[in-house]
């Protein structure tokens, strides 16, 4: 059995030397994820607020001004201009200066006073669907609320009141939602690239062929290559978690130790993926392209940005084949929901199965090159 891993320690030691010598690559592979974190953590807010709004108040009396105040107080709309005509309002939307136009007709107050239905026109720029959706929801809600108040008059209570309570991320902070998912994408990035490159480099230099003439066994070679980068990936994870907690103030509700342990099968998957890529690629450029190919599904199908539940069935199925799906479940579970091993063991198991499968395929591909 010992022979199956022949050459492991020699390759391991050599890989550590490579990594230590190539400080530039190491530095950048650790730094770039942190930069991405800063961009996503500080720069991106998925909550829609302060949408630029233009208002044409043709009425101008107290009732109409109250309505505008309520819209402004919602935090969703920021009034950038009061228009004097339909023409001005339309121009502002077509020109992109405003996303939403609200027109209060000249008879708004009159109709309210005479208990006739009053209409408010809300024009929404549909070119960004999430902004549009939010604008529809908020204006509808405010309209409904306004109507109820008038129907019920003073002192009456609402017969039904919904009281939503956001668990786990009560302030709907974007970093809390984005960063745990980002962890999965970043780790994949670093470890897959590093392992793929380290093997393809040996192909390019011809040292891989040289190794195949020695008694090194494929498993010894692959594990010797894999473990040093597992260490680097693990260090990267600690760095990301540290930044997430200390700089972006994302609270970690679950056990950090559990997160560390469950990251191992995920790292194992992404390293095996790197090895598999290297068994296919002949040059570093080719390896780079293949690695990017694996990163795209991790971003789009894993639920990192877009919810998996809204995907068409076909892509929902694919999302089960994307390793990041499981790890994002794990990171969000532990960090945001305080989930324990009893909730997450299936995800860990799935990762372990995928990783083993990938590594076995890679080892076979290398083995076929060595012996018949």
């Amino acid at each position: 059995m010992r022979d199956t891993f022949r050459g492991f320690s020699a390759v391991f030691y050599k890989e550590v030397l490579h990594a230590r010598r190539d400080k530039g690559t190491l530095f950048f592979s650790l730094l770039i994820p942190l930069l991405q974190m800063v961009i996503l953590g500080f720069g991106i807010d998925t909550n829609i607020r302060q949408v630029k709004t233009i208002v044409y108040n043709a009425d101008g009396r107290r009732e109409s001004r109250e309505l505008i105040d309520r819209l402004r107080n919602s935090d969703t709309f920021r009034v950038i201009q009061y228009a004097e005509s339909d023409q001005v309002m339309n121009d502002a939307i077509v020109g992109g200066r405003a996303r939403v136009g609200i027109k209060i007709p000249v008879d708004y107050s009159d109709r309210l006073l005479h208990q006739m239905g009053a209409q408010v026109l809300v024009l929404i720029d549909g070119s960004d669907s999430s902004v549009a959706g939010q604008a529809i929801n908020v204006t509808t809600a405010i309209g409904l609320d306004e109507s109820l108040r008038r129907v019920l008059r003073n002192g009456a209570v609402f017969p039904v009141e919904m009281r939503p309570k956001l668990l786990f991320n009560p302030d709907s902070r974007s970093p809390n939602f984005l960063l745990p998912g980002l962890t999965a994408v970043l780790l994949l990035n670093v470890t897959t690239f590093l392992t793929a490159f380290s093997i393809v480099r040996e192909k390019e230099r011809g040292t891989l062929e040289q190794l195949f003439v020695t008694p090194v066994r494929p498993m010894g070679l692959l594990l010797g290559k894999l473990l040093p980068y597992l260490g680097i990936g693990f260090f990267e994870l600690c760095l990301i978690l540290f930044f997430m907690r200390v700089v972006f103030l994302v609270p970690i509700h679950g056990s950090v130790l559990l997160l560390a342990i469950l990251s191992l099968p995920y790292l194992f998957v992404s390293l095996s993926l790197g090895i598999l890529i290297s068994s296919k690629a002949h040059s570093q450029a080719e390896a780079m392209q293949l690695a990017f190919l694996t990163i795209l599904p991790s971003i789009f199908f894993s639920g990192y940005i877009f919810p998996r539940e809204t995907m068409p069935l076909f892509f929902y199925g694919i999302s089960y084949l994307v390793p990041a799906t499981y790890f994002i479940n794990i990171t969000r579970g532990i960090i945001l929901r305080g989930a324990g091993i009893q909730h997450l063991w299936t995800d860990a198991l799935a990762l372990f199965v995928i990783g083993t499968a990938l590594l076995l395929i890679a080892a076979r591909r290398f083995h076929n090159k060595v012996i018949a």
């Binding site: 022949r6 020699a10 050599k14 040292t207 062929e209 012996i371």
Partner: protein
């Protein structure tokens, strides 16, 4: 040690009917040969003729399509692991880790072969002394010149004291001094009983080998000592001899020489003409005959064929045979 005695008699390499096909293409076709322990076997042939394929088959990098091969008595088909323990291999481009130092490269290969710490230290010392690498121990491999890279690669390949070394074009692209030094080193090691399987394009290197094989379109068309090859009937037909005619006017002389009865073939070689002539031809008579055509002959003498002559002769014969076969197929 009787076991060691027995080992001496086992040929270093025995190949029987080696065949390797890639799809429809037959890269190596029924190649059989034997390399005795302690020989320097020079393996020659044009690019793409199958040299590297044969090495890959013997070192277990490529499975055999047909045939059998034993390396140091071990069957490469079934025992490739054990085969690899006992051989050293140096590839065409001196596959070294450029970002590691000379010492680190050596240590890495030593660890791969599971040398104990003690033996590793002793072997590195020996190899470094033998190859003169001492001043460069802590230099990065990338910073070595071609000749030193080649010595380091050789050092890595022989660290585990293999009795058989495969060197794939070890002298391609290095300077003549380093080339000479490498061959001196090979002879020294060969004196210690190490067998070498060397591919090369240089005829002068082939002349120095104790045993030469020549492969052409996947077929081994020459196999023997350089001296024996020069006596082959194809190269040296019965009743003929080779002569060299030195003259300042080689082109005109060649044209005339080809008309002279008794001269079977003639080619220009620098300032002289090499010709294959009837054994009975009188050299003084030939000189007089050329003189009558106003050709000044400075010297005329018998010539032993070079290996290059041998390979030219054998290649053109093989080429003709191949074309003849194609004609037959077409007809």
């Amino acid at each position: 040690m009787p076991a060691a005695d027995k080992l001496e008699q086992v040929p270093a390499i025995r190949a029987e009917g080696l065949v390797r096909r890639f799809g429809d293409f037959t890269a190596v076709d029924e190649v059989s040969f034997r390399v005795e322990a302690g020989e320097i076997f020079g393996f020659l042939g044009p690019n793409g003729s199958g040299k590297t394929t044969v090495i890959k088959m013997l070192t277990g990098l490529l499975p055999l399509t047909a045939g059998n091969a034993w390396v140091q008595g071990l069957d490469v088909r079934t025992d490739s692991e054990a085969v690899r323990e006992g051989i050293g291999y140096m590839s065409q481009n001196f596959s070294l880790y450029h970002d590691l130092t000379v010492a680190e490269n050596l240590q890495f290969y030593g660890r791969i072969y599971n040398l104990t710490a003690d033996r590793l230290r002793r072997r590195i010392e020996e190899v470094v002394t033998l190859n003169g690498l001492a001043p460069y121990l802590h230099r990065l491999a990338a910073k070595l010149s071609g000749g030193w890279k080649q010595r380091l690669a050789l050092g890595c390949a022989m660290l585990h004291e293999p009795k058989l070394l495969f060197l794939d074009e070890p002298t391609a692209g290095i300077d003549p001094v380093a080339r000479r030094q490498l061959w001196d080193l090979l002879f020294e090691l060969s004196g210690h009983g190490i067998t070498f399987f060397v591919t090369t394009h240089y005829m002068d290197e082939a002349e120095r080998c104790s045993h030469v094989g020549y492969i052409h379109y996947g077929k081994l068309i020459a196999d023997g000592t350089p001296a024996a090859l020069k006596e082959l009937p194809d190269v040296h037909p019965q009743g003929t001899k080779r002569i060299e005619v030195m003259t300042p006017e080689v082109t005109r002389a060649l044209r005339i020489a080809r008309q002279v009865p008794g001269i079977r073939s003639a080619t220009i070689f620098g300032e002289s003409i090499h010709a294959l002539v009837e054994e009975t031809m009188d050299l003084a008579g030939l000189r007089a005959q050329l003189g009558r055509q106003n050709i000044t002959v400075t010297e005329i003498r018998p010539l032993t064929p070079s290996l290059e002559d041998v390979f030219v002769e054998l290649t053109s014969k093989h080429q003709a045979a191949l074309e003849g076969r194609q004609e037959a197929v077409r007809a």
